[in-house]
Symmetry: C2
Amino acid sequence: MTRYRVTLEYDGTGLIGWQENRQGPSVQSIMKDAIAGFCGTRPDVVAAGRTDAGVHAAAMTAHFDLDTNADANTVMRAVNFYLTGRPVSILSCEIVPDTFHARFDCTARHYRYVVLNRPSAPVLMGGRVWWVPRKLDISAMRVAAEKLLGNHDFTSFRAVQCQAKSPIKTLDVCRITQQGDEIIFEFSARSFLHHMVRNIVGTLVEIGQGKPFDIDEIFAAKNRSAAGPTAPACGLYFMGADYSMDASPNSCEPVPTDK
Amino acid sequence: MTRYRVTLEYDGTGLIGWQENRQGPSVQSIMKDAIAGFCGTRPDVVAAGRTDAGVHAAAMTAHFDLDTNADANTVMRAVNFYLTGRPVSILSCEIVPDTFHARFDCTARHYRYVVLNRPSAPVLMGGRVWWVPRKLDISAMRVAAEKLLGNHDFTSFRAVQCQAKSPIKTLDVCRITQQGDEIIFEFSARSFLHHMVRNIVGTLVEIGQGKPFDIDEIFAAKNRSAAGPTAPACGLYFMGADYSMDASPNSCEPVPTDK
């Protein structure tokens, strides 16, 4: 048995999310089918993050086991052949120790949310951004973003159906930048609650439109209805997962220890 | 009669190009239909560049005349309403003097061509880039790009069906940059020959793959078959058109005078 670690790009449009179930195509089912095309077996594929319906990934880490010792490049090329025309592509593949686990070993997850803030509807970025026609106040959103950083009880930003044991998380990065008409929200944490990023973005956008939300009050309320609406899935991207096995001298992101 | 100048974004996928004809939907026909939806008449719409089938635009300048004196913002909102769900969006609109002509007054046109240079097929940028799996030698392409700059007889880079009177053009910008796996080619000139950008990119990519093309020899041949193949339309974007009426202190692009 050989364990392969892969980095995946996917377009979440029309998918039910990462997790395989009978309601429709998922990233996991597409990956399993492609692996089965190559080697006949349909192994479990485990991801760093089980993204929701419609959410994209620029670089999702996952792992799976095969009863072969094919080299990593062969596996990548073969599975990518079976992914032709599907909304998933393997960007890299390597053989890892059997102890590596894409989900449990992940020390940080990075998300990006893209808002297109202009009066005209998106064309070239259709399905890839949340279109917010009304001009947003970036400075006001940045003041709020600053308050979201650090260790908090994120109950107010957590989907009602969230199954995480604790609502306490540490947000290590909450950054807002602008590139032309695009407003880019970046988030990093060891882990996130269900819908946490989209609920934060939905709240920040309300703040950017002048709604007098107070982040401290939202935290204190510990109630989902105290925060803003859930931003649509199409603007959200899983950007990367960190692992201690990748630690390099260039990496200076702090590894949170709150889990 | 009021002349309106608009900036358009469009997704060329599935369109027959700018120019209206009976073979399928075009940017021009979509614009005319939307304007007709708003005001009942179907005026001619004139663009800075009549892009080919499949070519995109991030900012195409066009103009049209209406028998109304509706303000520019009203026209933009109304036409954009009729463009809902179509692959064209008006990004800006202004009233201009009747003498303004989007095509004849244009002093420079800017194009961008995007190559995705990685082993794995595009997913998030599907239909927006030319996928070239084999690693390209950027330095070799840059040396060649340098030689393309300036005033030349571009016959070898001109589509056989090109109807321009003269094959002599001045290429003012021919720049290659890299952003992650994307290689971005930027071109500026007062005007271009038919397929000129795509034929240049097709040739540069061959050079980047080690083919011993010599730009001087290609120019000297004055024969389309001396250059490389035509790069696919899906990687090409019309990025902007310059007009003397927009001249600002920030603009430092030289205006070529070879036409």
